[in-house]
Symmetry: C2
Subunit: 424 residues, 2 copies
């Protein structure tokens, strides 16, 4: 029995998928919806399969499974809903759609008794969605920390390894096709934020959407930040972090989701994730630390994830029944002000007695405690010195009031950098 | 609807599982088969659940899913077969059994239309079995390279980071409970070999058994091997490698499965897997490089993998039907003599003109080509020098005949070390 696929979109991922499906027994692409049927295409697709009528592809009686790789909210959302309502399982690679409308789509899928798969929406070829949905279903997950944007990881790797400035590394990434001409979605953390929302939703059984995620991008990271972090034994990475806070009372649980650059200790497995690779680090109560590493983008790796989902959908069609993903309700989202982070602060101070006491006093008054501190003389720096300290995790609000207090101190000549630190 | 579990075995993994199941809605342990009902146990298990009659546990009408964590071939095999024949899905953590009798058990499961799950048999909490079975089902997997034995990775990490000799590091591992009093199964590569056989079977859809795996352990690795590798930019790791060789003709495909120490370049993700952690590196045609990292042993991490399987089995029971794992046939196993490896060879040679030509001649005659070479003078070494080279991959037989040819050369004073190298 051969199952028919209807493919919506035939860009980089769709084209790679056409080639992969051609090698799979029991699967056949019946029609492909595209914007232009005359455009030249890299993959060996039969031109007779192309149509501009996406609704018709969804509606064909010989299309058993619908694969959506158009991207964006509409028309992808309406097409997927139409497919689900026609009782057809859907496989999508659309992170923006799932991060914004995932609950609606999953509820529609469950109402129709069919499956909605979206492994490729998070971290390309890395099977993190299946790991969270299936392998870790019974696990109490405490935190997920991911490098889930290849463009920014490539830029930060170039800055770290070649000493490039941000602008130069971004231009190089654009030249190689790793970054878009308008790089905002990547470098400002929107892309990583959508993936964080999806992972948080599955891991914590909650409805977390893209808009819930705090994000700060990498455009303000300087090569001197990177040098400074390296000297202390850290790499700077753009992290997507999803955490659950229960304080021992499930009814009062809240979720924190954020994307920002952070210093990652060299000994941490995420520190060695280079170039455009992605990795997701999961901390579970029983499983301990897990990490999933691989290609987070690109036509073939993403198509590989779509293919895994298509095979799963095909198996489920043969079995009958479906395996719903429970859609959790909305949960309190902890605002960034309340989220705990450790910080590394680099202060320029007067080199005179009593400075440390004043700085430590400002920290203590604001409830921030110090994990490590070092003082450096500055060559030719006359009366000034450098004070570098790493704090224990404290709510971000407290760090901000601490920095304001530093600004009031005569002995503090400047706050040269403030970076979040992974760990603690 | 609550599903009943019958637990066979209640050691470290079983005890941890009892605690995890207690927190899961819809699952309940109905009875636990143990060797002694009077032994003190760490987990908060109801003593009334204990019995020494394992057959009775399998046969109970209120046991819907059987979980086997006894280990070893018998009685585990007979109990699992009895459960499957009674139409009950089975979850097992038993690598020895699956690596030796997996095909028989999977065929029995398929004949009865029930599922056999064994995520915990390979690499503890790391969901590599589900990744290979589901996410990568359609992927053409070229090679799997794993650090899948925590004991040996702990020993090698201690040797690398503390400069410990093998015997000292082993004793430390035994003191901490990472190594058994008889460490043979771990340090000689039998444990890793069983896991390699299981991974090869799933990835290549072939029936590969433990006895097919070539293994060489770490007991001959010296601290000077480790120093030498580190100076060249490599870490020594015990690798389990499963490869498929097709030469473009699927009918002539064969599988290579082996466990041996190898030099892993510092830039490779496997090089940074420290202590008792495990990791599995997968190379797929479309997916590219993937790595799965985590705790490969221990009660809680292993129980976490068992729990994921139990939840999967429970979902399948509610749905009806089952998802068989295709059992491939026996395939030609490529003997170690024919398996390609790159090697690093450290020769002591006379420091005189023409030496390099003679050494290079012996390599060329035996069809081994050189990727990199360096010559070092030896302080106070009068007429001798050190020649270190890394070869391209060549069948192991050719390396052996090359080494024999070196032995015939007057200019070669000694072969100080020969280590396999990952890569190429």
């Amino acid at each position: 029995m051969t199952l028919g696929l209807g493919l919506l979109g035939c860009g980089t991922v769709g084209g790679a998928l056409v080639d992969l499906i051609a090698e799979q027994p029991g699967l056949e692409i019946r029609q492909v919806a595209v914007r232009s049927t005359t455009k030249a295409r890299a993959s060996a697709i039969d031109p007779d399969l192309l149509t501009t009528n996406a609704e018709a592809v969804v509606g064909r009686s010989d299309v058993d499974i619908v694969v959506e790789v158009i991207g964006g909210i509409e028309p992808a959302r309406s097409l997927i809903l139409a497919a689900l309502r026609a009782g057809k399982p859907v496989v999508t690679a659309n992170k923006e759609l799932i991060a914004n409308c995932g609950a609606e789509l999953l509820e529609a899928a469950d109402a129709e008794g069919v499956d909605l798969h979206f492994e490729a929406a998070v971290a390309g070829a890395i099977p993190i969605v299946r790991a969270l949905r299936a392998s870790l279903r019974g696990e109490s997950i405490q935190r997920i920390t991911g490098i889930v944007n290849g463009t920014t990881n490539y830029i930060l790797t170039k800055m770290t390894e070649d000493g490039a400035e941000y602008g130069t590394a971004l231009a190089e990434a654009q030249r190689l096709g790793y970054a878009e001409r308008d790089p905002t979605a990547d470098v400002e953390g929107f892309d990583a934020g959508a993936k964080a929302a999806i992972m948080a939703s599955i891991a914590f059984n909650a409805n977390v959407v893209a808009g819930d995620v705090f994000h700060e991008g990498i455009s303000a990271v300087t090569s001197s930040d990177i040098d400074f972090a390296q000297r202390l034994g850290y790499k700077i990475k753009l992290l997507a972090i999803a955490e659950q806070f229960t304080d021992g009372d499930e009814r009062k649980s809240s979720v924190g989701v954020r994307v920002h650059p952070a210093m990652v200790p060299d000994s941490h497995p995420l520190a060695s994730v280079r170039d455009s690779f992605n990795a997701v680090f999961v901390e579970g109560a029983a499983s301990g630390e897990l990490m999933f590493y691989g290609r987070g983008a690109g036509g073939e790796p993403t198509a590989s994830a779509v293919l895994g989902d298509v095979i799963d959908a095909a198996a489920a069609l043969k079995l009958g029944g479906h395996r719903p993903i429970a859609v959790g309700g909305r949960v309190p989202i902890m605002p960034i002000d309340d989220l705990p982070s450790a910080f590394c602060v680099n202060l320029l101070v007067r080199d005179e007695p009593g400075v440390l006491a004043q700085v430590a006093g400002a920290l203590g008054t604001n409830g921030v405690s110090i994990r490590a501190m070092e003082q450096h003389d500055i060559a030719g720096g006359n009366d000034s010195a450098r004070l570098i300290f790493i704090t224990h995790a404290a709510p971000e609000r407290q760090l901000r009031t601490t920095l304001a207090a530093f600004g009031e101190l005569d002995v503090v000549l400047g706050i040269d950098s403030v970076l979040r630190v992974l760990g603690d």
